[in-house]
């Protein structure tokens, strides 16, 4: 179990076994139109060998969080507050050379669009062996052998010949495999996968997800899986964090969040997605309205303008007070625990089929 034990407002030192812990992270960009609060007070922990799924819609801050963990944000225009501790080492204040030592070595990333993430100018083999040479000091020959070995591991046919191919000579699924090979070449402890299968076809997606799962068992990496597809996290993740408007609104184990969700936004996500076994005569249950602008997020609970249950909360707290995400399993919502359970069982669950 990943320990999700800190409240949003407690930037305390990490508990014992968390391998990456993020505390009260705030990321703000200054733009011409004003300050964009892309991430606003986010905390989570992840243990070695576990998978944390982060779900949310576009603009919910899930990608920004992970770019910040890797230090890939633009330092000039970005204001970062909070703590990111990787094995107790603070990453926010780390210098660029320090981060360079970690990136590709201790932590690596798999991007969504493999065609833009890979350089068209270098061969696949060179791009895989580069981080290996940099971090281990291996010779060209050793690095090339390692690249071939990794290509074979991820299932590229004829790796000895394909290692000299350029990315455009690979199909979409093969490029994504090559990117996985590149990210795993130094046995990283943390792997961040940002929508790794969104651009792929469903049969290829299934191959890639299984491949990631099998490789995780072998390498023992922790994976942060960013996606908007609840089906993908149900398959892959141990724990789940639901994000909305730059904040975590619900977290818990995958089973807890998918089987007894507590936050109205999570209900909305579940109700919006038809399943292969749902009742086709029931209309979908969409969330009304559209995601808020992060330039000027709603006061109080950011979900209140789209929430159908604000009238159940007394004193208009939804508009005024920002709900906190409690310790461990829980949701950032003003409804009482009984209300959440009652609403879910009575009105939401029957519609999910």
């Amino acid at each position: 179990m990943t320990t999700l034990t800190k409240t949003e407002d407690a930037p305390a030192p990490t508990g014992g076994d968390a391998f990456l812990s993020v505390r009260d992270l705030k990321v703000q960009f200054s733009t011409e139109d004003g300050i964009v609060k892309a991430v606003d007070g986010l905390s989570f922990d992840i243990e070695r060998g576990k998978t944390l799924g982060i779900v949310g819609e576009s603009g919910s801050g899930k990608s920004v969080t992970n770019l910040t963990v890797l230090g890939l944000h633009n330092r000039k225009s970005t204001h970062v507050e909070g703590e990111i501790l990787l094995e107790g080492k603070e990453l926010i204040t780390a210098t660029e050379p320090e981060l360079e030592k970690l990136r590709g070595n201790k932590m690596a990333m798999i991007f969504q669009d493999s065609l833009t993430a890979l350089s068209p100018y270098y061969t696949v083999g060179r791009q895989i062996s580069e981080p290996f040479r940099k971090h281990t000091g291996a010779s060209k020959k050793e690095a090339r052998d390692r690249a071939i070995q990794m290509l074979e591991k991820v299932g590229i046919p004829h790796p000895k010949q394909r290692v000299d191919d350029y990315p455009h000579q690979f199909s979409g699924g093969m490029r994504q495999r090559a990117m996985i090979a590149m990210s795993l070449v130094c046995n990283p402890d943390l792997l961040i996968a940002d929508e790794p299968t969104t651009a792929l076809d469903v049969t290829v997606q299934a191959q890639i997800l299984d491949l990631l799962k099998d490789l995780q068992q072998e390498f023992g990496s922790a994976i942060i899986m960013i996606t908007h597809d609840l089906g993908v996290v149900a398959n892959m993740a141990d724990d789940l964090l639901v994000m909305y408007a730059g904040r975590a609104v619900e977290r818990g184990s995958v089973r807890e969040v998918l089987k007894s969700p507590e936050h109205p936004y999570t209900w909305g996500l579940l109700g919006s997605m038809p399943r292969l076994n749902s009742d086709v005569d029931e209309p979908l249950l969409p969330i009304p309205g559209s995601p808020p602008s992060l330039l000027n997020p709603p006061s109080g609970c950011p979900f209140h303008p789209r929430c159908a249950f604000t009238d159940k909360v007394e004193g208009g707290k939804c508009k005024g007070d920002r709900p906190t995400l409690p310790v461990g399993r829980g949701s950032a919502c003003h409804l009482t625990a009984d209300q959440k359970q009652q609403v879910f069982i009575e009105t939401i669950q029957p519609r999910l089929g």
Binding site: K153, G155, V202, T203, Q205, Q207, L211, H228, N277
Partner: protein, 378 residues
Amino acid sequence: MTMSENNQTTTAVAEAIPQQRDADSAPLLQVKDLKKHFPIKGGFPIRRTIGAVKAVDGVSFDVFRGEALGLVGESGCGKSTTGRLLTRLYEPTHGTITYNGQDISTANRKQLAPIRSEIQMIFQDPYASLNPRQTVGSIIAGPMEINGINPPGGREARVRELLEIVGLNPEHYNRFPHEFSGGQRQRIGVARAVALEPKLIVADEPVSALDVSIQAQVVNLLQKVQREMGIAFVFIAHDLAIVRHFSQRVAVMYLGKIVEIADRDSLYNRPRHPYTHALMSAVPNADIDAVKKERIRLEGDVPSPISPPSGCRFRTRCWKAQDKCATEEPPLVQISGSREGHLTACHFPEEPTTADRGEDIVLDPALAALEDESGANA
């Protein structure tokens, strides 16, 4: 082959939408052996055609009045090209499209004019399909203007009414597309498509560019206009769950061909084609307590449509393939054990019952190797 196919599809609809059948049993749209080959030019100094991308390569199906036919498949299977052929945005290379008894596959501009108003299209990308220099009002009134339609009360009143139908504020009549979010723009696209009260709408991935919570809004809207206005839909998408939710009949395409077409229940619960079966098993299920289905993991990607495999096109990734599959192309027919109207193009189809399925099939060599290893260690 196409004739017999046709007869069978005609009967298929009996179960799906009996009420329409009573009114008029002739299909609204008949597609026969439709092909679209895009030439590949090359050579120096004289560029000539050196090959063709066989995007759509012999597709036949019917669409009945008021029904929604889903078209699914992976990228490059030709589903979008098929959609554009139906609306004559592309010229077919071969085959016929019969709309309401009239062959429109070779009709010229003038002959097509009255039909264009009856077949409309909704595009995938709501950012690219609306003219940024026109107001919403003129975008939606455009089709009426071109077709010279003057609704009672004037075009503006009709546009406001349409805006209301699709869930937008009629006061937004004078706004420009950039003032709207993605979901709202797609609603404008829907309003434009239904402005002329068409009989058929081809929706090409209408929700795949939208966020999850907005997708459901647009799907519900499309379903509302389909039911209330009795419009037939060709619903093209790659998301199997959304297609299942929307369509009464579904066709599965692979490399320019339809490999299986059936009513929704048969296709999703008792697929006969190995590809359909693999596709279903690849969909990740958000229900973690769902009965564990067999896991089928194919090898590699879809082959190139420039030189598709001989015989059955799926044979290069199929676990049941035999010599016959390479030499003989399987016809799209109703095979024994299938329900009426359930057509499958396969020499060695899956069993009609799901009882004896359940074994995992892992064809991907990397996965198989990793899983053998971990199995041996455990």
